[in-house]
C-alpha cells in the first residue's frame, strides 16, 4: 500500500544556450579544446540538475562565423543532450548570433513560466559585424534582459570590452582562458555555476550586491598562483 499520496516539487524550465565563436582563428587546437571542454561539462550540468528539485534544464547551441546558425536548435533536456563537434572557419558575426538569440528569447517562443535563461558566449576575437545592434535586439526581449549572461574569452585577441558589454554587469567579468587547459576549466565553471545560481540559489553571502543583477552569481575562484618558486606554475 502506498505510504503517502506521492508527489514531487514542480519544476520550472531553464533554457541554457552556448553561443560559440567558430571563426577562422578558432581553427586547430582552440576548437578541439572547446569541443572537449563542452563535452566534459555535460555530466557536471546533469549533476546540477539532479541536485535541484525545482528546475528542468534544456540546452541549445548557436554558432557564428560567416553569419550565425543554430548548431543544436531543439531545446534538449540536459540528460538527453549530446554534443556534436563544431568546426571553425570564416568571420566573427557575433551580432548576427545575438539577433538569432533574440528570436529565441521572444515571450511567445519561451515557456509561459521559467527560470532565468543562462547564455554563455565564448569567443577569441573581435566581432566583424554589428555587435551593438545584435545586443540591443537581444536586450529588447524581456527574457534577454532577464538572462544571466556570461562570457569566456579565449586568448589575448578576444575583445574583452565586447564580452563585458554582453554581460552587462560590472561586477561580473569575462572569464579569460589563457591556454587550452585553462579553457576547459573556465567553460566548466561557466556551464555549471551560473546554472546552479539561476536555478537553485545557494546560501546568500552577506553584503553581496551583484551589481543589481537579478541572479546572484558567485565569484569564480581565483586562478592558482605559486606560493613558492618550487611550485609548478
Amino acid at each position: 500500500m502506498p505510504e503517502r499520496p506521492g508527489g514531487s516539487l514542480a519544476k520550472r524550465p531553464l533554457q541554457f544556450i552556448w553561443i560559440v565563436d567558430c571563426s577562422g582563428s578558432m581553427q586547430g587546437r582552440k576548437i578541439e579544446s572547446l569541443n572537449l571542454a563542452i563535452r566534459e561539462s555535460i555530466k557536471p550540468m546533469q549533476d546540477v540538475a539532479d541536485e535541484n528539485p525545482n528546475a528542468e534544464i534544456f540546452i541549445r547551441v548557436v554558432k557564428f562565423s560567416d553569419g550565425a546558425q543554430w548548431h543544436i536548435s531543439e531545446p534538449t533536456e540536459v540528460h538527453a543532450f549530446k554534443w556534436s563537434d563544431l568546426d571553425a572557419g570564416g568571420m566573427t558575426d557575433m551580432g548576427k548570433a545575438l539577433t538569432m538569440l533574440a528570436d529565441a528569447m521572444k515571450v511567445e517562443t519561451m515557456p509561459q513560466r521559467g527560470l532565468p535563461p543562462v547564455l554563455v558566449l565564448i569567443s577569441d576575437g573581435q566581432p566583424t559585424d554589428d555587435f551593438k545592434g545584435g545586443l540591443k535586439t537581444l536586450m529588447a526581449q524581456p527574457w534577454g534582459l532577464k538572462a544571466v549572461r556570461i562570457s569566456v574569452a579565449i586568448g589575448e585577441d578576444a575583445d574583452l570590452d565586447v564580452l563585458q558589454e554582453f554581460i552587462g554587469n560590472p561586477e561580473i567579468k569575462p572569464l579569460v582562458a589563457s591556454n587550452v587547459q585553462d579553457l576547459v576549466k573556465k567553460i566548466k565553471w561557466a556551464s555549471t555555476v551560473p546554472l546552479k545560481a539561476a536555478s537553485n540559489p545557494a546560501s546568500r553571502p552577506q553584503g553581496a550586491t551583484n551589481g543589481g543583477s537579478n541572479v546572484q552569481i558567485p565569484a569564480p575562484p581565483a586562478d592558482a598562483k605559486p606560493t613558492s618558486p618550487a611550485d609548478v606554475f
Binding site: S8, S203, R204, N214, V215, D231
Partner: protein, 445 residues
C-alpha cells in the same frame, strides 16, 4: 577550477596531527570537501576558497570547535586544518554515512519513507535546532541542502555548521541564508539571521517535508514568468502570504485544474487535507502571525508537541495506508472523519489510549514510550515501555504488553483490578484503565 588539495597531500589539524587527503568529494559555494585520514580514521575536510577563508570565519570555527556540538545530530567542526603550501584553512568533521539522504531527494520524490520515519525526522530536526538554540547559538542557514536523513529510520544529520554563531552577534554574519528559506525580514534587508529567523526557516523546512511545496508559493507565483531574485523578494519578502491563510486568499493554493504545473501549491493542497487540525493550525500560526511578527513564531517546543501528537495520531486504514486521527473531528457533533486518502472508503479507527493530554492510536505495531508517561516529556521514541501484541493463540485478540520494569495495575471494564507484571499483556478493550505508575491511561474504541 576545483581541487584546491590533491590526494595524498598532508595538511595539519589545529592540534598538529597530520591529516592526509584521500579524495575530493565535492564543492559548494564556500569551498571544497575531501575525504581524509585523520588519526587512522576517515573524516571529511572542508577547505575554503581563498575569498571565503576570512579571519572572521577562522575565529568562528575556532569557537565552534572549543564549544563542541549541541547534540549528536550535528556533523560539527572537530578541529581546524592548515597547510604549509596552500593558503587559507579548513575544518575537519565526521563523514556522512551513505544511508543518509538529502531532503532534496525527498521533495524530488526519489525516496519514499514511511510517515512515521518522516515524523521522526521532523522531530529530530526540531530537537537538534532546539539544542543549538538553547546554547545561545543561531544556525542561520536552515535549508534542504543542510539536512540529511535516513529514510529507513528518520534519523537526521545536520551539516554545514560553519555558519553557526552566537545569537544576535553584531559581527558580520557571512551568510544571510538560502533564499527560499529566509525569513521575510531578512529578505527585505532589515535584519541579520538570528534564532527567530531560524524558526521561520525551520517551519518552511517542515512544510516542505509534510506538504511538498513552499508555504508562500500559491496563486501569486503562477503570475510570475521569470522566477529570479526580484520575484523571490516579492513572494518571500515584501508581499508574503500563506497559501492557506484563512483571512487572505490572494495567494491561495491552486489545484491541478487551475495550475497544471503544480507550482502554486497543487501538492500542498492534496496533503493539507490529510492532516489533523492541530498540525494545520500550527502551520497557519507560523505563516500568518509568525510571518509578520518574529516574536510570535511557533517555538521549537510547540513544534515538538505538535509533531509528537502527529506521531501518536497515525493509524492504518484497512487498506494498509496511513491516515491521521483528528481529535477535533471526534469531538465535533455531526462531523465525520475524512475518507481514507488512498482507498476512498470510510476509515475504521483502531483502539486508542488516552494518557494525560496524549491520545495514542494503538496500531498493530504501536509502542508507548516514557515520553507518553510523564508530565515532563522528552520526545524520545527509542526505548518502548509498552507494545501492542497479538494473542499467541487467538489472532482476534489484541493486547498491550508491559515492556517496563514495573508492574501495571489495570482496572478491567467490569471494574475488577488486575496486576500486569513486566512481560505480560492486558487485552485491548474499551474502558480498560491502566495505572502505569507515572501516569494513568484509558483505552477507548
Amino acid at each position: 577550477m576545483n581541487e584546491l588539495l590533491s590526494p595524498n597531500q598532508v595538511v595539519k589539524s589545529g592540534t598538529g596531527q597530520p591529516c592526509k587527503v584521500i579524495k575530493f568529494l565535492g564543492s559548494g559555494g564556500q569551498g571544497e570537501v575531501y575525504k581524509v585520514d585523520w588519526g587512522g580514521s576517515e573524516f571529511a575536510l572542508k577547505w575554503y576558497y581563498q575569498q571565503n577563508a576570512t579571519p572572521e570565519q577562522r575565529e568562528m570555527l575556532q569557537r565552534l570547535v572549543s564549544e563542541g556540538k549541541p547534540n549528536d545530530k550535528f556533523l560539527w567542526p572537530e578541529d581546524l586544518a592548515f597547510a604549509d603550501q596552500v593558503p587559507g584553512f579548513g575544518y575537519i568533521m565526521r563523514l556522512r554515512p551513505p544511508e543518509y539522504k538529502s531532503l532534496n531527494d525527498l521533495v524530488a520524490g526519489k525516496i519514499q519513507p514511511t510517515y512515521i520515519a518522516l515524523i521522526v525526522a521532523a522531530l529530530e530536526l526540531v530537537k537538534a535546532f532546539r539544542s543549538l538554540h538553547i546554547k545561545g547559538l543561531a544556525y542561520r542557514d536552515i535549508s534542504f541542502g543542510n539536512a540529511f536523513f535516513n529514510p529507513a529510520t528518520g534519523d537526521v544529520l545536520i551539516c554545514d555548521n560553519d555558519n553557526v554563531a552566537t545569537n544576535r552577534t553584531t559581527k558580520p554574519c557571512g551568510v544571510l541564508g538560502t533564499p527560499d528559506f529566509m525569513a521575510p525580514e531578512i529578505v527585505r534587508g532589515e535584519v541579520q539571521p538570528t534564532n527567530k529567523t531560524d524558526l521561520h526557516s525551520l517551519s518552511v523546512l517542515l512544510f516542505y517535508i509534510f506538504c511538498f511545496g513552499h508555504p508562500l508559493m500559491g496563486r501569486k507565483v503562477s503570475n510570475i514568468r521569470c522566477w529570479d531574485t526580484p520575484a523571490r523578494t516579492r513572494i518571500f519578502g515584501t508581499e508574503p502570504v500563506f497559501i492557506f491563510d484563512p483571512g487572505d486568499r490572494s495567494n491561495e493554493a491552486l489545484d491541478k485544474q487551475r495550475d497544471p504545473t503544480g507550482e502554486a501549491g497543487g501538492w500542498a493542497l492534496v496533503y493539507w487535507q490529510l492532516y489533523p487540525k492541530f498540525l494545520r493550525d500550527t502551520f497557519t500560526k507560523s505563516f500568518t502571525v509568525g510571518l509578520r511578527d518574529p516574536d510570535r513564531r511557533v517555538t521549537e517546543l510547540e513544534w515538538l508537541n505538535t509533531l509528537a501528537a502527529l506521531r501518536d495520531a497515525v493509524f492504518k486504514c484497512v487498506c494498509g495506508s496511513p491516515n491521521f486521527y483528528d481529535p477535533e473531528v471526534a469531538k465535533t457533533p455531526g462531523a465525520h472523519p475524512a475518507l481514507c486518502w488512498h482507498c476512498k472508503k470510510a476509515v475504521k479507527h483502531p483502539f486508542r489510549i488516552r494518557i494525560g493530554k496524549a491520545l495514542v492510536m494503538l496500531n498493530a505495531d504501536s509502542m508507548l514510550y516514557p515520553h507518553h508517561m510523564a508530565d515532563a516529556r522528552d520526545y524520545d521514541f527509542s526505548t518502548p515501555v509498552a507494545q501492542v501484541t497479538r494473542h499467541p493463540t487467538d489472532p482476534n485478540i489484541w493486547g498491550l504488553k508491559n515492556l517496563s520494569g514495573a508492574k501495571w495495575v489495570v482496572t478491567l471494564p467490569n471494574g475488577k483490578l488486575k496486576d500486569v507484571e513486566p512481560g505480560r499483556s492486558v487485552p485491548l478493550a474499551e474502558n480498560t484503565r491502566i495505572a502505569f505508575g507515572r501516569a494513568d491511561g484509558e483505552i477507548r474504541y
